[in-house]
C-alpha cells in the first residue's frame, strides 16, 4: 500500500506481526530495541526479534548514549611529533533503527540536536550518528507514577523527534510515518500494513486520552518561570539538603548533555576524549587555581534547576526536561523534582 504523510494517515499492523515488521525494517540496517535485562528493559542491539520485549512503561536508561557516547575519542596523538590523527568516524553506510523509545525520549533527541547539530554549532560526529538514525517511537498507554510529560510540554502520544510512531491499541498497532525518512523505511514492511480507518484513529485518541488522564501535574509549570528569577531566594538553602551529589539524575536524564574534554596519555601516546560530565560533581566547575565557584551542593542543585527550567528557556525557548521521571525513579534518596519545583512555585 502507499504510505502518506498527511495528518490522519496511518496503517494497521497486527500485534503478532511486530517482530516480522521489525525484521523487514532491519534488512541490512542495525536494529536497536528494548530487551529485558535482569528484570528491567534496556535498549540493546537486536540480532534476533525474539530478544525484543515491549512490556515496559519506560526504559531504565535513556537512549542518549547511542548518539552521545559516554566516552568518545576525538583524536589520538603522539608526543613529540606535533601531529594528531582524528579518530575514525563511524564506518558503514547502513542506517541504525532505534525502536521502542517513548515519546519523551524521542523529544529529548531534538533537544540534543539543537546543541550538537544546530544553527550555532554542528558536531560532525554527532551529526553523522544522527543522520544514520531512524527513530521509531512507541507511544505510551500506561505511564509510570514518576512520569510527568504533560507538565513539561510533551505528551504520551507526542510525535516530536520520531520518524515513525506506533500507537499500541488492544488488538493492533496504529503505525504512522512522521518524517519522509520514516515513510521510506516503512516501505520495506508495506506487505504487513493495511490502511487505518477513522475508527482506528478514534481508538488511538481514546487511549492517548486515558494515558494523559493518569498523569498528574506535580507543580504549576506556568508559575514556575517567574519564580525562578531569584538567584538568592531562601529556598535554595533548603532544597539541596537531601542531595548526595551523585550523577544519577544527570546521567540518566535524556536531555542532559554536559561534557568534559580531557587527554589520556600513556607514555608517548595519547588520546583526547569527550566524556559525559555532571553539574552535580564538584570537579565540574573546579578551577585550576583550586577555587570552585560552585563550592557546595547548594550551588550545584541551583545550577541544575535553573539550567533546565530557566536558562534553557531563555536560550532555546524550551525547558530542558521532557518529564520522563528517571531522576525521580532512580534518585538514591528519593528526591522528586516535581515536589522540589512545587516548593519553589509555592514559595
Amino acid at each position: 500500500m502507499k504510505l502518506e504523510l498527511e495528518s490522519g494517515s496511518g496503517s494497521i499492523l497486527r500485534r503478532e506481526d511486530l517482530n516480522r515488521f521489525l525484521n523487514l525494517l532491519q534488512g541490512s540496517n542495525d536494529l536497536y530495541g528494548p530487551t529485558r535485562v535482569q528484570g528491567r528493559h534496556e535498549i540493546r542491539r537486536i540480532t534476533a526479534p525474539e530478544q525484543l520485549d515491549t512490556r515496559y512503561a519506560n526504559l531504565a536508561m535513556s537512549p542518549k548514549s547511542l548518539f552521545l557516547p559516554q566516552t568518545e575519542t576525538l583524536f589520538t596523538f603522539a608526543t613529540g611529533n606535533r601531529k594528531t590523527s582524528p579518530a575514525a568516524a563511524r564506518a558503514g553506510s547502513g542506517r541504525n533503527i532505534l525502536f521502542g523509545v517513548r515519546p519523551c525520549d524521542a523529544m529529548a533527541i531534538t533537544f540534543l540536536d539543537r546543541i550538537f547539530s544546530g544553527e550555532d554549532y554542528r558536531d560532525p560526529r554527532y551529526a553523522a550518528r544522527r543522520a544514520s538514525l531512524i527513530v521509531i517511537t512507541l507511544a505510551c498507554t500506561v505511564p509510570d507514577p514518576t512520569c510527568f510529560c504533560t507538565t513539561v510540554d510533551c505528551a504520551p502520544d507526542s510525535e516530536i523527534g520520531a520518524d515513525v510512531i506506533l500507537f499500541e491499541l488492544p488488538a493492533y498497532y496504529l503505525v504512522k510515518p512522521v518524517t519522509r525518512a520514516g515513510r521510506d523505511v516503512l516501505e520495506a514492511a508495506a506487505s504487513l500494513l493495511t490502511g487505518a480507518t477513522r475508527n482506528d484513529w478514534d481508538e488511538k485518541h481514546r487511549s492517548a486520552q486515558n494515558a494523559r488522564q493518569s498523569l498528574r501535574h506535580g507543580f504549576d509549570p506556568n508559575r514556575l518561570t517567574a519564580k525562578l528569577g531569584d538567584f538568592q531566594a531562601p529556598y535554595w538553602e533548603k532544597l539541596h539538603r537531601e542531595c548526595l551529589g551523585c550523577g544519577v539524575c544527570t546521567y540518566l536524564c535524556p536531555t542532559c548533555y554536559c561534557f568534559d574534554i580531557t587527554d589520556e596519555t600513556i607514555k608517548s601516546r595519547g588520546r583526547r576524549i569527550r566524556t559525559w560530565d555532571s553539574c552535580m560533581f564538584p570537579r565540574f566547575t573546579q578551577h585550576a587555581s583550586g577555587h570552585n565557584p560552585r563550592p557546595t551542593q547548594k550551588e550545584r542543585t541551583r545550577q541544575r534547576i535553573l539550567h533546565k527550567f530557566n536558562y534553557a528557556l531563555k536560550s532555546h525557548g524550551r525547558k530542558l526536561c521532557v518529564g520522563c521521571g528517571r531522576c525521580i525513579a532512580f534518585c538514591p534518596v528519593g528526591i522528586d523534582i516535581r515536589s522540589v519545583l512545587k516548593e519553589i512555585v509555592e514559595s
Binding site: 535485562v37 551523585c246 589520556e264 538514591p332 515536589s339
Partner: protein, 328 residues
C-alpha cells in the same frame, strides 16, 4: 500495659524529635518522610518549630542516614538527633571511631529493624506494578493496586542484604524504639553470595567484570556510603589523575576495586551502595563477600561499638598470613 498503650513507631519517633528539639538538646533531627509514592521515603530534616508529624517509619526507610552526619556535623558545632536502623548505627559507630563525628553531639534514635522491603521484589509478585497503598502488619506486606489487594510474606520481600542481617537492633543507641531483636550469630549467606562462591575463579572474575561493565560512573555508590567521607576522593583527583574520565573497563575496575577495598573491615553491609546504583550493578554481592572474608579470617565485625579497635589498625600475631611468601 495494654495493647492500646503501645505507640506506633512513627509516633514514638515524632515524640522524641519534638522533645529533643523543644528542650534545645539538638539543633537538627534527621528521620524519614514519605514521598508522593507509597513505596518511597526520603530523608527528613527538622529544626525547632518544624512539623515532627511528617516523620514516618515503614519498610521503605532504607536510606542509611549516617551518610548525612559527616556532611552536616563535620567540624561544625551542631547537635543532631538521627534515626538509625541496626546497620545505620554500625555506620555511626564507625564514624565516631574514625573521629569523623562527635558522640557527645549526637542523639541516636535506634529502630529495632525488621529488614527493609525491596520494591522490585514486591512489584515482581504483583500483576499490576502500580502500587497505591502498602500496609505492614504482623510480618505481612499488604499491597493495594487498582482495587486488588495482595498479602505478601515480609520475608519474601526483603532486600538481599537484609536477609542475612546479624544486627537488626542498633549497636550504639540512646533511645530505642520497638523491642530489641537478638543478634543473629549464625552466618546466613543469601543465595546470590552462596551461588557466587561455589563457582570457579575464572567464572567469578567473569561475573565481577560483567557486573561492573554496567557501571556508568555516576558515583552514587560512593556518595550513598557513610564510609566514603573523604574530602577529596581519589576518583576526583587530577594531580596525579588516578582515573581518567573515560568509563572504559580499566578505569571502572580501578574505581570499584579502590572503593571496595577501602571498605575492608569497615563495611557494615547496609546495602546503600547497591540500592543507590541506577545501573543494577550487584555491588552488595562484593561488599558482603568482603565482610564475610573479614569475619572468617579475623572473627571481626565492624561497627559493633565506637570503642572497638579498627581491623586494619591492629595487629595480631595469630593473624593468618599465608599470603606472605618467600622470595623466589
Amino acid at each position: 500495659m495494654g495493647a492500646a498503650a503501645v505507640k506506633r513507631p512513627a509516633t514514638e519517633i515524632a515524640a522524641i524529635a519534638r522533645e529533643l528539639l523543644a528542650a534545645g538538646k539538638i539543633d537538627l533531627f534527621i528521620g524519614y518522610r514519605q514521598t508522593s509514592s507509597p513505596v518511597r521515603t526520603t530523608p527528613c530534616f527538622l529544626t525547632p518549630h518544624d512539623d515532627v508529624t511528617r516523620l514516618v517509619w515503614n519498610g521503605f526507610c532504607s536510606n542509611n542516614l549516617a551518610v548525612y552526619l559527616t556532611r552536616m556535623m563535620g567540624r561544625k558545632r551542631i547537635r543532631v538527633g538521627v534515626v538509625a536502623k541496626g546497620c545505620d548505627s554500625r555506620s555511626i559507630a564507625n564514624l565516631i571511631r574514625e573521629n569523623q563525628i562527635s558522640r557527645e553531639a549526637l542523639v541516636i534514635v535506634g529502630m529495632a529493624c525488621p529488614g527493609m522491603l525491596d520494591v522490585a521484589k514486591v512489584r515482581a509478585k504483583l500483576a499490576d506494578p502500580g502500587i497505591e497503598k502498602v500496609e505492614e502488619i504482623d510480618g505481612q506486606v499488604i499491597v493495594s493496586s487498582k482495587g486488588a489487594i495482595r498479602s505478601l510474606a515480609r520475608t519474601d520481600c526483603l532486600y538481599d542484604g537484609c536477609i542475612g542481617c546479624r544486627h537488626p537492633t542498633p549497636t550504639v543507641v540512646d533511645r530505642l524504639v520497638g523491642a530489641a531483636a537478638p543478634d543473629r550469630k549464625s552466618p546466613v549467606l543469601d543465595s546470590t553470595v552462596r551461588d557466587f562462591l561455589v563457582r570457579p575463579r575464572a567464572e567469578r572474575w567473569q561475573i565481577f567484570e560483567s557486573e561492573l561493565a554496567k557501571c556508568i560512573r555516576c558515583h552514587a555508590c560512593r556518595n550513598a556510603c557513610p564510609n566514603c567521607y573523604c574530602q577529596e576522593c581519589f576518583a576526583e583527583q587530577t594531580s596525579p589523575e588516578w582515573l581518567s574520565a573515560s568509563n572504559d573497563m580499566s578505569n571502572t575496575l580501578l574505581y570499584h576495586i579502590g572503593r571496595i577495598l577501602h571498605q575492608a573491615g569497615r563495611c557494615v553491609e547496609c546495602g546503600a551502595c547497591a540500592r543507590a546504583c541506577p545501573a543494577n550493578v550487584n555491588l552488595g554481592l562484593f561488599t558482603r563477600l568482603l565482610a564475610d572474608e573479614v569475619r572468617e579470617r579475623f572473627a571481626f565485625e565492624s561497627g559493633i561499638s565506637p570503642e572497638q579497635p579498627g581491623l586494619l589498625s591492629t595487629f595480631n600475631a595469630d593473624d593468618r598470613q599465608e599470603f606472605m611468601t618467600e622470595p623466589e
